[in-house]
Symmetry: C2
Subunit: 302 residues, 2 copies
């Protein structure tokens, strides 16, 4: 249990984001050669101002079990590549058909649909290239890395994010019950958020109850994060968010507020955050970033 | 050197294809649950009658260095998942906009563009899930598997297949010189064919000159394969191919025949096959499948 910990979340987020940005720029230098355009398209979305929440959760997961954030950096970056690919594909006309993301034109608006599609494919593929990184394998036992690849691929694939997005699209404009919205949220967003924090803890040598508690934490904040997104879509400011507010309602998306109403959704999100923090009760101050990140996730304005 | 080897390629291809099909059906059983549609879409293209050439090359690569084809089966299957995803995305309206593939309506014609896009994403992701397979890691040293993941992701990503497809799309309707068509062919098709045969050899414990010679073989047949595809598009039969002949010309694709003419393309392909077989001169009869596959690649009618 922690008490009187003075922890500066804002500084923590700034520091960690800088580390991730620097690493991503190293992995994606200015492109050359015939395929420069698709690489430029990958970079465009990768450096469009993301919060780097998933990489930060991965590093904070490592720190919670007394591990090193730097040691897990390639994995942290791979999570951002997967997140970025999912946004590019999600914005395509065949999916959500969005024109604006993080205050900038979406990838296909700038590079055309074909290159945007391939940029997404390239980012997803590069994520696994990075997960099999040689330097990483020199620091962390290869069988542990394989376990993490299995976990991340499971969370990103048809049993996780891809499955959640498919159900999300299929239920647009239809009246869903609570079990559908819960499926969508835990799969579309929750699975990768859980994998982010848990992968960091696994790589840093976390074991038994530690991994169970951190997974539990991840599941709670993953769901809270998506509910917060749904609420932001209703109450948020388009300029702060960098995307059009009210899009969910216009597209008749299956969201928490649509199914439960705003008040109950707010209550659910608060309880999830409380429960997430409670999951970490056996951890010492190393888990302080995770505790504060849980609160941050529902208080952000974008 | 081999002489008087009686080797039945047709029987070999039938046997190996059956092994791959059975494994793929095990990995992709009948879907259940809310995401059943996207899984069904993945299965639709996966079981649409592919030749399973890349998995067979992977298994033949293992056998060439006295390894076991069955030991590398999850990797062989992952190569087919990547190949299938690339076909689904390639057929989308934003890319080649094809209505027919292997004699059947393309994925998006059956499931819609959104689900087809996600089915491709799901197959690509699942490929890496399979590469990190627990059973595989029990048979083959994890650091060797990581090396293979690195190689396959490199061949599938922006420095390989994705890069080749991007350049292919960008040069449609333009007059390209030979260096561009070579870039497209070696990246769009060659990289993954080379990775297929080389990954099998690496996993089976191939070393030094063996891996060099097999990589060399893979590069030659990879290029020959794409030239054969280009020629088939001109001379082939739509029904046998299961797709519309003449599509390349109509789309003004950058192909070997378009740049070099038919006669020189045919000559190039024959020389590549001869050179590929020559690359295997130090191998014994274990490499006989690879030798005969080289010839098969340019003689197939689909």
């Amino acid at each position: 249990m922690t008490n009187k910990v003075v922890f500066d979340l804002k500084g923590y987020l700034t520091d960690k984001k800088a580390i991730v940005d620097k690493a991503l720029r190293k992995y994606f230098p200015q492109p050359e050669g015939p395929a420069a355009d698709v690489i430029e398209a990958m970079r465009y979305s990768l450096f469009a101002g993301g919060k780097r929440l998933r990489p930060i959760l991965c590093m904070a997961g490592a720190e919670a079990v007394e591990g090193s954030a730097i040691d897990v950096l390639p994995v942290a970056c791979s999570l951002e590549l997967i997140h970025t690919y999912s946004l590019i594909h999600d914005d395509l006309p065949a999916m959500d058909d969005d024109a604006l993301r993080r205050g900038k034109p979406t990838n296909h608006k700038v590079f055309g649909e074909a290159i945007a599609l391939l940029a997404g494919d390239g980012l997803l593929t590069e994520a696994f290239h990075l997960l099999a990184d040689e330097e990483l394998a020199a620091r962390i036992p290869p069988h542990v890395i394989l376990k993490v690849i299995r976990m991340i691929a499971g969370a990103a694939g048809y049993g996780g994010m891809v499955g959640g997005q498919a159900v999300d699209i299929q239920w647009e404009g239809k009246t869903a019950d609570f079990s559908v919205v819960e499926y969508i949220h835990t799969h579309k967003t929750g699975a990768m958020i859980t994998a982010s924090v848990t992968s960091g803890a696994i790589l840093a040598g976390g074991y038994g109850w530690q991994l169970q508690d951190i997974t539990n934490y991840g599941e709670k904040i993953g769901l809270a994060f998506q509910i917060a997104d749904d609420i932001l879509d209703i109450e948020g400011d388009s300029i702060a968010m960098g995307k059009t507010a009210g899009a969910d309602k216009q597209k008749e998306k299956t969201t928490y507020p649509a199914v439960l109403g705003l008040e109950k959704s707010r209550k659910a999100q608060s309880e999830l955050v409380k429960s997430a923090i409670h999951s970490l009760k056996k951890f010492d101050r190393g888990a302080e970033p995770l505790r504060q990140l849980a609160q941050y996730i529902i208080e952000r304005n974008k």
